[in-house]
């Protein structure tokens, strides 16, 4: 990209930063250009969820957000949750469950799950499905992703005095996202 005509300042993974941009540059493009390549370009039209980032703690499609809209706000990418050498709890469980096939959807899945874990106290199946309904996986059929996520959520519920989910099913997410 040539030098931008505008600048945008926001907190990126806890650090205040300023970037050159253009009015119609998408946040996804800016992030990947600046080296935050964990955030993936999938469909580019707000369907697949591979580009999910947190905007002020809420899961958002970076492909449907102009970079200028992030002004003054807090953006978190997958790099803030875990790295190859130091993966986050859900990332470890995904690997253990064999839930990662091509892996392209995983950063988005992890960001949606992060929003869930940091926002909700109750991890009932219906709430989990609501947070995860904007992320598509075309390889695994969700079963193993769901198993890995349920493990993390049930553990957190047990540790954090959070009410445990009433139903811990390995099949809950299947029909919702088919």
């Amino acid at each position: 990209m040539t030098k931008g005509t505008h600048t945008v300042s926001f907190t990126l993974n806890g650090e205040k930063q300023t970037f050159d941009t253009r009015p119609d540059e998408k946040l996804l493009t800016l992030l990947r250009r600046e080296g935050y390549r964990g955030t993936k370009y999938g469909c580019g039209q707000g369907t697949c969820g591979a580009c999910t980032v947190l905007l002020d703690g809420r899961a958002t499609y970076a492909c449907l957000l102009y970079a200028m809209q992030a002004e003054g706000r807090s953006v978190r990418t997958i790099e803030s949750v875990g790295t190859f050498d130091n993966p986050g709890e859900f990332q470890k469980e995904l690997v253990a469950a064999g839930a990662v096939q091509c892996g392209y959807c995983i950063p988005g899945m992890v960001m949606s799950a992060t929003a869930l874990m940091e926002t909700e106290k109750d991890f009932e199946d219906e709430i989990v499905k609501e947070y995860m309904d904007g992320n598509l996986c075309r390889c695994t059929g969700y079963e193993k992703i769901w198993v890995a996520l349920r493990k993390v959520l049930d553990r957190q519920a047990a540790e954090g005095n959070k009410p445990a989910a009433k139903k811990t099913s390995s099949k809950g997410a299947k029909n919702e996202q088919a």
């Binding site: 009015p23 039209q45 707000g46 899961a59 499609y61 200028m68 809209q69 996202q177």
Partner: protein, 281 residues
């Protein structure tokens, strides 16, 4: 849609003045999700209204006031007395979209598959439009054709006012889709006012499967004064064919969509009656 400039006005008056001056070269931006899909090769100036304090939900006496820039996820999570807006908001698109997309964005430029106009028509909501001063427009007038017509001179939608349902009122909505996050095939919303077991008045609206969201007057007429029982609901639903021009698509015939609408009307009426009889909230 191409953006050539990005402006953040600091007041409603400034936003209106800016949009007036820009004319067709200006575009209001709230969530901005729909802007990415709008055609047009001529670049426009985005006027970001998210910094104007238009994101809120408040109960004021006998109505709820929802700020135009309130994201759908906030409406979905809000709880007030006999609140009924959360169900339809949960069914719109995906979690990530609901976090960004706003009630105003959904109803300022109405897409044929939009769900909120249907709900607001049935609920007899009022739209607050700012043109230097506030003006309230009832849903029937607001949705009589594409609302974009109301905003040509830089005027802005600032809030949506929804009546608080009274004890004997009930509301039900149904959205028929191919899968959980797909666009609607048929959306139906129904508001019933019961007196004893009798329907005192009814507002029934539809969207998707027809060219533009509208009320289904023959269905409403078939309900008024009758008993709130399934047989009556079925008979009223059968008037759907006469009430609107149903359109097929995606491999589905117009007749199929009409049948889907009839089943959805029946469901919405059953839900509304159950609500009116005192559903646990």
């Amino acid at each position: 849609m191409k953006l050539s400039e990005f402006i953040r006005p600091s007041s409603l008056a400034e936003a209106r003045k800016t949009l007036r001056a820009l004319g067709p070269k200006g575009m209001v931006l709230a969530g901005g999700t729909a802007l990415h899909f709008m055609p047009g090769k001529t670049p426009v100036t985005a006027v970001d209204i998210t910094g104007l304090g238009l994101s809120y939900i408040k109960q004021k006496g006998d109505y709820f006031s929802i700020g135009a820039a309130t994201p759908l996820s906030d409406i979905q999570r809000y709880r007030g007395p006999r609140w009924a807006m959360h169900e339809i908001c949960r069914r719109i698109s995906t979690h990530q979209i609901r976090n960004v997309s706003t009630i105003g964005g959904n109803i300022c430029r109405v897409f044929p598959w939009a769900d909120l106009p249907v709900v607001l028509l049935a609920m007899d909501a009022r739209m607050v439009v700012y043109s230097g001063k506030d003006k309230e427009i009832p849903a029937d007038e607001y949705f009589s054709s594409q609302p974009a017509r109301l905003f040509r001179d830089g005027d802005l939608l600032t809030a949506v006012k929804i009546p608080v349902l009274k004890a004997h009122h009930g509301f039900g909505s149904v959205k028929a889709t191919r899968n959980a996050t797909a666009f609607s095939l048929v959306t139906i919303a129904a508001l019933l006012e019961l007196k004893g077991g009798v329907i005192k008045s009814a507002r029934v609206a539809a969207g998707s499967g027809i060219p533009f969201p509208q009320r289904l007057k023959p269905v409403e007429a078939a309900l008024a004064g009758k008993e709130a029982v399934t047989a009556v609901f079925k008979e009223a639903a059968a008037a759907a064919g006469a009430a609107a021009r149903w359109v097929g698509g995606e491999g589905m015939s117009a007749d199929y969509i009409r049948q889907l609408a009839e089943v959805s009307i029946l469901d919405a009426l059953e839900r509304a009656a159950e609500f009116a009889r005192g559903r646990a909230e």
